[in-house]
């Protein structure tokens, strides 16, 4: 096991200002283990008193080698690893990888499976924004927000457990459809949630939105202009709070999003308060989508019929010989994908989450690359933070909503 290397200022000479080399400003390490870095992120701050002059992020403390490990597994078995990347948005990660696989092997998804996927992904978006709200409040010392948000999240995790058996890493969305049909208690659980949630959002807004302390700490902090955001590749609520109306659910609809009626909140100020307002409004819009999808839920199969690529349901295996042979072949050897590449993107709670998949004619992928939104969203942090205090850095870092599993993969 290697020792921690002593860091000298020579390594960062090209990144810090000249005043640091003479000792006039101080280099402070906000280390990998820190209560408000939202994961293992190391920030090197060059400080002049309390004011931040430069900020150098150091990532890689959670590097898991997922992309190389997925090359050693077949397409179905590799899906398990996608859950664990952005652990707040597990259904979304599954969906982006599965959509890429389905496009590569050209398999259609039945309409009931599409509607179920939309319901679960939007519930996951609500759960992710609730954790953001809770930890954001915790960073700014509003501790009761944390307890309130986790109370709602428990209800959503109960729905996930009802459907798939697991609270977080479900792997429920699989190539060709979903794993199995939802049980009868699903509808009642989702409708109970839809009934109580709007009043809860109003409670959170009453607590925070017009609070003078909150406004003091959030307004005019961390400006992100439109050109900087586009040049750095920022997507998601951070881009929409800077004035660009780009949401992949409206621009390139997938999984039947064009049938649902919802708005995309866009603001122009580009500061931390604008990002907060955009996300609160997205909570309400996601709830609208869940309600419409629940009302329109069509009947039908939940898995595609193409048995060369999609395993048959367990009930068929006992009665049909071809089903047994297909099941055996798909789970031992896997299906062969064409020798081509696909780039398929969805809108995750953090931005554009895409899977770049290249097949080589065999059962294992040649290259899987996951384009994760938090990587580019973090790269713009040094621009946003220049000239602010260290306490503002904490507020800005929590408003861009990063997840380290996304960044380090």
């Amino acid at each position: 096991m290697t020792q921690i290397e002593e860091v000298t200022i020579d390594q960062y000479k090209h990144l810090v200002s000249e005043r640091a080399l003479t000792g006039e400003t101080m280099l402070l390490n906000m280390g990998p283990q820190h209560p408000s870095t939202h994961g293992v992120l190391r920030l090197l701050l060059e400080l002049d008193g309390e004011v931040v002059i430069n900020c150098i992020p150091d990532i890689g403390f959670l590097h898991t080698g997922v992309e190389k490990n997925m090359e050693a597994k077949t397409y179905q078995k590799a899906e398990v690893m996608t859950d664990r990347l952005d652990y707040m948005n597990t259904m979304g990660n599954n969906l982006s990888y599965v959509m890429a696989v389905e496009k590569l092997i050209d398999v259609d998804v039945p309409v009931r499976a599409q509607a179920l996927r939309v319901i679960l992904v939007e519930l996951q978006r609500i759960a992710s924004h609730l954790v953001w709200l809770g930890t954001s409040g915790l960073d700014l010392a509003a501790m009761s927000m944390f307890l309130f948000c986790f109370r709602e999240r428990e209800q959503i995790l109960d729905i996930f457990e009802l459907v798939s058996g697991q609270r977080m890493m479900t792997t429920y969305i699989r190539p060709g459809g979903v794993w199995r049909d939802v049980p009868v208690e699903f509808e009642k659980a989702v409708r109970d949630f839809i009934k109580i949630f709007p009043k809860r959002i109003d409670e959170y807004e009453k607590l925070l939105t017009k609070n003078p302390l909150f406004i003091d700490r959030m307004v005019d902090i961390g400006h992100l202009s439109k050109e900087t955001a586009l040049s750095y590749g920022v997507t998601g609520p951070s881009l929409r709070a800077s004035g660009v109306n780009w949401d992949l659910r409206k621009a390139r609809p997938y999984m039947g999003y064009e049938q649902y009626d919802f708005n995309v909140p866009v603001l122009t100020e580009g500061d931390t308060y604008a990002r907060y307002l955009v996300r609160i409004q997205e909570l309400r819009e996601s709830l609208k989508i869940v309600e419409q999808a629940m009302n329109k839920l069509p009947l039908g199969p939940v898995r595609s019929d193409n048995r060369k690529f999609v395993p048959p349901p367990r009930s068929e295996i006992g009665v049909s010989m071809e089903s047994l042979i297909h099941h055996f072949k798909l789970w031992t050897e896997g299906f062969n994908a064409p020798q081509a590449s696909i780039y398929s993107a969805i809108e995750s709670p953090r931005g554009e989450l895409a899977a770049f998949l290249e097949g080589d004619g065999g059962p294992k992928p040649l290259r899987v690359h996951l384009r994760t939104p938090s990587f580019d969203n973090l790269a713009v942090l040094p621009e946003m933070v220049k000239g602010h205090l260290v306490a503002d850095l904490v507020a800005i870092l929590s408003s861009i909503d990063i997840v380290l599993g996304d960044i380090d993969r």
């Binding site: 890689g60 040049s231 780009w246 696909i342 690359h369």
Partner: protein, 170 residues
């Protein structure tokens, strides 16, 4: 391919001699390494492709010419189009000019590609390793780098693996 993408691809073919392939509605254009910065600037300024969505690389190991393809995925928000540029890189000449002048998001993305694959980007302002520790030897995502797979401990080989594992103070 989208109707409005065809004139853009034709322009790339004329100006840079790019070849292109199409698969399930996506357009992949092959560009030579020396021309990539000009191609990116032409797409950003004249055709409004403002967002560099992704930049990554693929390793085709047993084949040496080309051994890698560096991939740039560009998105245009105004016209709602996207195009993919691929740069083939030979195994003995691993240098590509940097795209940081054109898109700032290329800064970290190119650091990741040079860390994982060993491709050098000329003119990059900050060429340090980004994801692996600084003293790593080798480049993990190449096909000849081993996976580092460790044998799982079942009951038949429990004791022999137990003796080999480097436990601490136990």
């Amino acid at each position: 391919m989208d109707k409005s993408l065809e004139p853009i691809v034709k322009k790339l073919q004329e100006k840079f001699g790019a070849t292109y392939e199409e698969f399930r509605g996506e357009a992949h254009c092959f560009v030579r390494p020396e021309q990539i910065v000009d191609a990116l600037m032409c797409l950003r300024d004249e055709h409004q492709f403002e967002l560099l969505s992704a930049q990554t690389a693929v390793d085709y190991h047993p084949q040496n010419a080309p051994r890698f393809h560096v991939i740039y995925q560009l998105t245009s928000l105004a016209q709602n189009l996207s195009v993919q540029l691929r740069v083939p890189v030979n195994g003995d000449q691993l240098k590509v000019p940097t795209a940081t002048r054109v898109f700032k998001s290329a800064n970290w993305r190119e650091r990741e590609i040079s860390d994982m694959f060993g491709i050098e980007f000329e003119g990059h302002p900050d060429p340090r390793r980004i994801l692996m520790p600084d003293d790593t030897e080798g480049h993990p995502l190449r096909k000849d780098f081993p996976l580092g797979y460790e044998e799982p401990q079942f009951s038949f080989n429990f004791d022999e693996i137990d003796l080999r594992k480097p436990y601490v103070k136990e």
